[in-house]
Symmetry: C2
Subunit: 301 residues, 2 copies
């Protein structure tokens, strides 16, 4: 698959996800209109929709039923709700204090701090309602296993714990490479891994295949984060949609600050190769997943 | 059951819940120690543990298996995690800005704002991991239905949406009685109702029984909230564990401000009677649930 073909397929998949995201809050009767507006503001602000696309891709790879993508869609979109909530809370004044996100005012700037906190709280909780709703078309055991996987990845031992450690290290202005790696594995890696793994679980992959899928997810998650750090040093802010150079200005420990730019890029490439090497064991050497692992280290936004 | 017997049974049940809560975060390998300390600080700060006790009570009422309470315990404690997260976030400076909770500094005063936000985020997410873990001892369909019920009650259409409306009405310093009732049904009622209902679902109650259980939960939730408003006007702060009179000082719309104290008490008593009237249809006229509905309107803390 060429980079051009990959971009087109990513866009197509993302568009399908957008279609569902645009209406998913309709499924919550009684949601106050003002709160919904704040949730929609961040949920529908664009983005690559990488996590739901990964979930859908792996579900389709293993699911024998042609309707598997539709059945998994509520679950895949729930992952985007969780990702969106994490961005809203990360931007809060008490956290990273970011005024802009994806080229627009961040949620608490557009609304207010209380509304932003609650919009995040609602998104993460409602995400579990969407996940559970997948049980109407998929075996309950699979959905329950996927919920357990997602909760572990998003919670204290995963994404939230990673954000906690990130704040500690940023405050201390130091971290070892090992601490940085473990922190990112929790903050970014866990949710990306779980996006792949829940897709495989919902599609019916056996344990051995699930392990290989998790290895793929872990490696692309790591490559993705390293490149995020690199792009904060090198990207065009107009293309990236947010200011760059803030990590260095804050003396925040990053891969480039610890390893330099070239070694960081090299590490990302090695992670990308690791991801590709895991695909045969996952029984799913599709061109799309192969190309995606390459794209992550070659992206400029 | 006498009030004395009820208090003893409540204490006994709460003690069993405490025992599980004290260790439940051990089940999350990799949870950063500092984050865990903040979660434990609020999770283990005491309280009536009413929600998990309701869940366990209804599970035992319907569950034929003698081990049902142990099987449901992780789910019941997950409800307390959700309740605790809501208190931590409600106390934040951007929300109700409360410095004290249960006679001690609130979470963001003891730690810091970022840690308090993340401790809440972790508690609500990890709660779903605990809920899903109940699937190892209970049918997956039941656990999934209970998770759906809990997510709906805690999320945007429920507790979070209720807090959003509460903040709007408080800011506006006005609300109609109907708005107040709907807001409280979301903010407090939904989680109490779901505590009863998930217990019944996990215990295997049929649809008709589930409806009666929900009616009981809704009525005691309503009575509970009305009495909360009343106690803010009348209670001894030393017994209540928090300052009183803040609602009136903030000109916050409450049942007493709209109806007066005596009519508010009368309304709470009527809700308590409604709860008791639902018990025969639930097929569960236990003395405990009967006495509990009375206790809620007679409590002084």
């Amino acid at each position: 698959m060429t980079p051009e073909q990959l971009r087109n397929q990513l866009k197509e998949e993302a568009a399908r996800v957008e279609g569902y995201l645009a209406d998913c809050l309709d499924l919550l009767p009684g949601l106050p209109a003002g709160l919904r507006a704040a949730m929609d503001y961040s949920l529908l602000a664009g983005g690559k929709r990488l996590r739901p696309v990964l979930c859908l891709t792996f579900a389709r790879t293993f699911g024998k039923d042609g309707g598997i993508a539709n059945a998994v869609m509520p679950f895949a979109c729930a992952i985007e709700c969780i990702h969106t909530y994490s961005l809203i809370h990360d931007d809060l004044p008490a956290m990273d204090d970011d005024d802009m996100r994806r080229g627009r005012p961040s949620n608490h700037k557009r609304f207010d701090e209380a509304t932003a906190i609650l919009a995040g709280d609602a998104l993460v909780t409602d995400a579990f309602a969407f996940m559970a709703s997948a049980g109407s078309r998929l075996p309950a055991e699979r959905v329950l296993a996927a919920i357990a996987c997602m909760a572990a990845a998003a919670g204290g031992p995963g994404m939230v714990g990673g954000q906690y450690l990130d704040m500690r290290y940023t405050l201390a202005k130091k971290a070892t490479l090992e601490q940085l790696r473990d922190m990112h594995a929790m903050k970014t890696g866990a949710l990306i891994t779980a996006s792949c793994l829940t897709g495989a679980i919902l599609g019916g992959a056996d344990k051995k295949r699930q392990e290989a899928v998790a290895a793929y997810g872990k490696a692309i998650g790591s490559a993705f984060q390293i490149m995020d750090d690199v792009l904060d040093n090198t990207a065009d802010p107009a293309i990236l949609g947010k200011p760059v150079g803030s990590d260095a200005a804050n003396e925040k420990p990053t891969y480039p600050s610890l390893l330099g730019l070239e070694k960081s890029r090299e590490l990302a490439r090695r992670e990308s190769e690791k991801a590709i090497a895991a695909l045969p064991d996952a029984g799913t050497e599709t061109g799309f997943l192969h190309a995606l692992a390459r794209y992550i280290v070659e992206r400029n936004s």
